[in-house]
């Protein structure tokens, strides 16, 4: 294998690894935004998920138990979010911001309580790359896609599953209708509140998974503020991917590439201040949000509470 191919393979594999947390969170955000809820608290939910994952694995002794705990905690966070914005009709933006603050504060203190201060991270069971027999031997692609951790495979499988649910099932149709025009959905007997609660909980679950991926798959410990803005980039990923699961997959790979590129350049000792390199993913985000991908039309009722009568 030439050096170039090796470089490329490494780069793409890093791309996939950095893309997966974005993909997971963004997939969850698709559900919530399609139902009309904008959840800018994804960052905080991911962070809590990351800690929950580590704690689950630490106490229950198995990485998959960590994932389960992270997902459950995510569902509960989604439920709380749903209660606040759907039933209590609080501003989605304010509540989202509050979740981010809560996530940062809560995880920082809890992590110290659980694992102590200034100690090296305890050994926990985490995910290791698993080669898919056969497929992993395909040149370049095999290493990039079929030599990843199980959580990565899960994230990839959830893309078509999400697509199927949203566009091929009556449930998905309801979700989309509720996000576009809740009153119309109401008049055909759809329970708008129930759909929004459900979507918010699914979103929370995905954010939990995304967090668990960070702490159990990408790394195998929890650090303070380890999401470092990934929840916000996930929001941009949703817009960039036009609220479509496959679009979001592509967008996550683009953002992932930005981050992977930054690591590569830093590692290669490029003659650029690393702060500039760190900006790459965020510049991409701004470009996406500024509409460089063509018009991105969000669901018409996104962000607006629904009031019966």
């Amino acid at each position: 294998m030439t050096d170039f191919l090796k470089e490329l393979t490494n780069f793409l594999a890093a791309d996939v690894r950095t893309a997966v947390p974005l993909l997971l969170a963004a997939t969850g955000l698709i559900f919530s935004e399609r139902s009309g809820i904008v959840n800018i608290g994804a960052e905080g939910m991911m962070l809590i998920g990351a800690l929950a994952g580590v704690a689950g694995s630490y106490f229950l002794g198995h990485a998959w138990m960590g994932v389960l705990v992270a997902a459950l905690v995510g569902v509960l966070l989604g439920l709380l979010f749903g209660f606040l914005v759907v039933t209590a009709r609080a501003s989605q933006i304010v509540i989202g911001a509050a979740f981010n603050l809560l996530g940062l504060g809560l995880t920082t203190s809890l992590a110290r309580v659980i694992f102590g201060v200034n100690t090296s991270p305890p050994p926990i069971d985490a995910f290791k790359p698993v080669a898919v027999p056969g497929l992993s031997r395909i040149p370049v692609l095999g290493e990039v896609i079929f030599h990843q951790t199980q959580l990565t495979y899960l994230a990839l499988v959830l893309v078509p599953v999400t697509y199927f649910i949203l566009f091929k099932t009556t449930l998905g149709l309801k979700v989309r209708a509720v996000g576009e025009y809740p009153r119309a959905a109401d008049t055909v007997g759809i329970n708008v509140y129930r759909i929004r609660y459900g979507a918010s909980m699914v979103c929370g679950m995905f954010c939990g998974l995304a967090g668990a991926y960070l702490s159990l798959s990408l790394l195998n410990f929890f650090t303070e503020n380890m999401t470092a803005g990934k929840g916000f980039i996930a929001l941009a990923t949703v817009i960039f991917g036009k609220w479509n699961p496959f679009g979001v997959l592509g967008a996550a790979l683009v953002f992932g590439a930005g981050e992977a590129l930054q690591y590569r350049l830093q590692a290669a000792g490029a003659n650029v201040p690393y702060q500039l390199l760190l900006m790459i993913p965020y510049l991409l985000t701004i470009a996406a949000l500024a509409g460089f991908v063509g018009r991105a039309v969000p669901p018409a009722s996104s962000g607006r509470p629904y009031v019966k009568e």
Partner: protein, 505 residues
């Protein structure tokens, strides 16, 4: 005989406002029953209760003789009740078939769009409708959207169909088409509750009429035992004059001059193709035409809300081409926009705020950067009295007003400044007979004061009643201009359909 539906002693309170006050409504199977009443009389409220969207404060509903509880539209749909709302309940971003099957159980919970589309085509065809199930709803005209709504209800097995002001937004041809379908349904023992402000339609289509006024029941009569005038009296509580007294116009200078104006619509297509018009002070120029032939764009270019792609517009001799909405407004141009809820009002603002949207930045309503609330309030109190805007107080939100009162707010804001040119589009759409009469008289009074009025309407009766001259617009072109006394319905109809064109006059 047993009734299909009996609503007994229905009361509905919104806070302190009693929208329905002990209303009784009895509907027989297979009849076309009209529900009449002024704006805000409580018709939509009563129907929303029947459809399970609102819960009555008290009262009982009997369906096929049995008392029923309607907790949500779901229950109503299960009983075979379908409703086409005043403002359509379709999701614009979804396709026709998705809208129609929305919320219905399907096999395995999957949306089998192909089978559904086939079934929908068949239902549609059996009523002589031809719809494309895969079109997105936003691409459809209002008339087509209404057909989708009707099919949506029938496809769900509705046997009682509530039509809330279905004709307000239709062209005359579409109204005829709708009546044909409603009659077919009645023949097949479907029951229809029909809400309309147009008494001619009610007399023509319905067997019985129930009239509401101020949330109370006035009575139920057979159409064969009553007259239009009597119905109007029942609704309004006083005599209504359908014929307006009109003085001959005393013409002044040319106020609006359009010279070969062209403009594009949202889709980038030419919506106005060289329109040249003149309106003088003291006259009403009516623009007749079927909806969607460039009327919206016409009103928008004159009021500065849309760019011209060619041509010039002069107001009182001054070239205003390419200037903006505020500049044109300051030339004393008033605009009564076609959609009062989207363009005429800020629905979440109070009456008093809506009344100064045009002038908020100058005295007496502002001083420097600050608003003068006492002046704003006083303005509102005065205009509400002068324009008969019925609301408890000036802090009331625009969205909680009935359609007629919303329109009066727009009218008051636009007309109270004594404009020289008034561009009025569908000024009485959805208004009851009393409010319509009021708006018509106001517009005539403005003309007599010396304002130039451009009246754009799809209602030929309105155009014929008010205009001094009539222009017909078809596919963005003026097919001809005729003086009112030489206008002939048939001829106008031909011009509206594009099959006749007068020589430039």
């Amino acid at each position: 005989m047993a009734y299909l539906l009996e609503m007994q002693d229905i009361v509905k309170d919104f806070g302190t406002l009693r929208a329905n006050d002990h209303i009784n409504l009895k509907v027989e199977e297979g009849e076309i029953h009209a529900l009449l009443g002024e704006n805000g009389a409580g018709k939509s409220t009563l129907m929303n209760i029947l459809y399970g969207l609102y819960h009555p404060t008290s009262g009982t509903i009997l369906f096929r003789g049995k008392p029923v509880r309607l907790n949500s539209p779901h229950d109503a749909i299960n009983l075979g009740i379908g409703m086409v709302h005043q403002h359509f309940m379709l999701v614009p971003a979804l396709t026709v078939v998705e809208n129609i099957i929305l919320g219905m159980p399907r096999r395995w919970g999957l949306v089998d769009l192909k089978t559904a589309a086939q079934e929908i085509r068949e239902v549609a065809r059996s009523y002589g409708y031809d719809i494309d199930p895969f079109a997105k709803v936003w691409q459809l005209s209002v008339g087509e959207q209404q057909r989708v709504e009707i099919i949506k209800a029938l496809y769900r097995g509705a046997r009682l169909l509530i039509l809330d002001e279905p004709t307000a937004v239709l062209t005359p041809q579409e109204v005829r088409e709708l009546f044909r379908v409603i009659r077919r349904l009645a023949e097949e023992k479907y029951t229809v509750i029909f809400i309309s402000h147009k008494l001619n339609e009610v007399m023509e289509l319905c067997t019985r009429v129930t009239v509401l006024r101020g949330g109370k029941l006035v009575g139920t009569v057979n159409t064969c035992d009553t007259t239009k005038e009597e119905l109007a009296r029942m609704m309004v509580g006083r005599e209504v004059f359908f014929q307006l007294d009109k003085e001959p116009p005393s013409l002044g200078d040319v106020v609006l001059e359009m010279d070969k104006v062209e403009a594009l619509n949202e889709k980038g297509l030419k919506a106005l193709k060289g329109v040249s018009l003149e309106v003088r002070a003291g006259e009403i120029l009516g623009i007749a035409g079927v909806d969607g032939n460039g009327q919206s764009e016409l009103a928008q270019v004159i009021t500065g809300m849309r760019k011209l792609s060619a041509g010039r517009i002069r107001i009182k001799g001054r070239d205003v081409t390419g200037t903006g909405a505020r500049y044109i407004y300051e030339q004393r141009v008033a605009h009564i926009p076609e959609d009062r809820q989207a363009e005429g009002l800020v629905m979440d603002m109070s009456i008093k705020e809506n009344l100064i949207l045009r002038q908020y930045y100058r005295p007496p309503f502002a001083k420097g950067l600050f608003l003068k609330w006492p002046a704003i309030k006083e303005n509102a109190v005065q205009l509400m009295k002068e324009y008969d805007i019925r609301a408890p107080h000036e802090e009331f939100l625009a969205k909680t007003l009935s359609g007629g009162n919303q329109q009066k707010v727009v009218l008051a804001r636009e007309v109270s400044t004594q404009p020289d040119l008034i561009v009025a589009m569908h000024p009485t759409r959805g208004l009851d007979v009393g409010a319509t009469e009021y708006v018509h008289r106001r517009l005539l009074a403005e003309r007599d004061r010396g304002a130039a009025v451009l009246l754009i309407s799809t209602e030929l009766d309105e155009i014929l009643n008010l205009s001094d001259r009539i222009a017909v617009i078809y596919e963005g072109e003026i097919m001809g201009v005729v003086p009112r006394d030489r206008a002939d319905r048939e001829e106008l109809g031909l011009m509206m359909a594009g099959s006749k064109r007068l020589k430039a006059s």
